[in-house]
Amino acid sequence: MSVGLVIVSHSAQLAAGVVELAAQMARDVVLVPAGGTDDGGIGTSLDKVMSALGQADGGDGVVVLTDLGSAVMTAESALEFMGNPEKIVLADAPLVEGAVAAAVAAQSGAALAVVQKAAEAALSPG
């Protein structure tokens, strides 16, 4: 198993695209997009986030990446509803760059805190 990732975005396409990009370098990592509102519009959905968190959690924990501030707030609300599980953490990272770095770290079998740090340290390599 490995740490899972959830990509929370206002855009369903953006979340799916980040998953597509990060999956290239992390074939065995569970990457779940949570993009757009319930009715397919631009925005975030608590329900999509909560079900993505459920899907991504294989036991080793989940790192959540977000686009704008309101996605952060939706993700934090979801965590609050779930009783702030210790094994689900938000990364304070640029979405695309953080997701790729975190996915690579998760693929290597790194622990939750290491995957989170990989996201947060993400700079675009050459």
């Binding site: 975030t44 501030g69 309101s70």
Partner: protein, 217 residues
């Protein structure tokens, strides 16, 4: 202020949000993404549907239902912010059948603290906090008056707070991308907060005979 008042508050909020839907989105178009009115209208329309299904038995139950619905349906920053506000208010009042002035002040304070915890904004950042904090202060100052007067004081202060966001520079939320260009525009969330707190006061005024006084529920 009992469950009937809480339900009336939510229904009045839905009505006033629907009425000001376009205006709120226009405020948001100037310094954000132009969806604040639609976002809130979607959320409160869903609240109306829930109220039609089942009447919450206590104010706390009404607040918690509103919280869940807003967080789920709004889709923008206002969802988790108002959702957390109503959730904390619901927790603050527990299963009290009716809220006296002290409990109302506690509920408003918890709501404001919830917005702060969720959004990490400070006063003066040009957010809904700039309506909520004056409202909480005014309510606390009026806590020896009747509930309707407490809510009227809160609503009035929220309205003044919303107007006072006009000259501010946004430091949180989408408007913060605009930096100084956010000056000269009213914060949409502060404006909607004033409308919703006015709805609370109106529901209380309709429930309590005019001129009633004291601190009872």
């Amino acid at each position: 202020m009992d469950a009937a008042w809480a339900i009336d508050w939510l229904r009045r909020s839905a009505a006033v949000v629907a009425e000001h839907r376009v205006a709120l989105s226009e405020l948001d178009r100037a310094i954000g993404d132009g969806d604040h009115g639609e976002n809130l209208d979607r959320g409160f329309t869903a609240i109306l549907a829930k109220l039609d299904e089942e009447a919450p038995p206590t104010p706390g139950a009404a607040f918690k239902m509103a919280a869940m619905t807003l967080i789920s349906k709004v889709g923008g920053a206002a969802g988790p912010l108002y959702g957390t506000a109503f959730l904390r208010a619901g927790t603050a009042v527990g299963d009290a059948a009716a809220l006296d002035s002290a409990l109302l002040v506690a509920a408003l304070t918890a709501a404001r603290d919830g917005v702060v915890a969720r959004g990490k904004a400070e006063s003066g950042d040009k957010t809904m906090i700039d309506a909520w904090t004056p409202a909480v202060d005014a309510a606390a100052a009026a806590d020896r008056s009747a509930p309707a007067a407490v809510l009227a004081a809160a609503a009035e202060a929220a309205e003044a707070g919303a107007v006072a966001t006009d000259p501010l520079i946004a430091r949180k939320g989408r408007a913060s991308y605009l930096g100084e260009r956010s000056m000269g525009h009213r914060d949409p969330g502060a404006a909607s907060s004033a409308l919703i707190l006015r709805a609370a006061a109106d529901a209380a005024a309709a429930a309590a005979p005019a001129g009633a006084s004291g601190t009872g529920a």
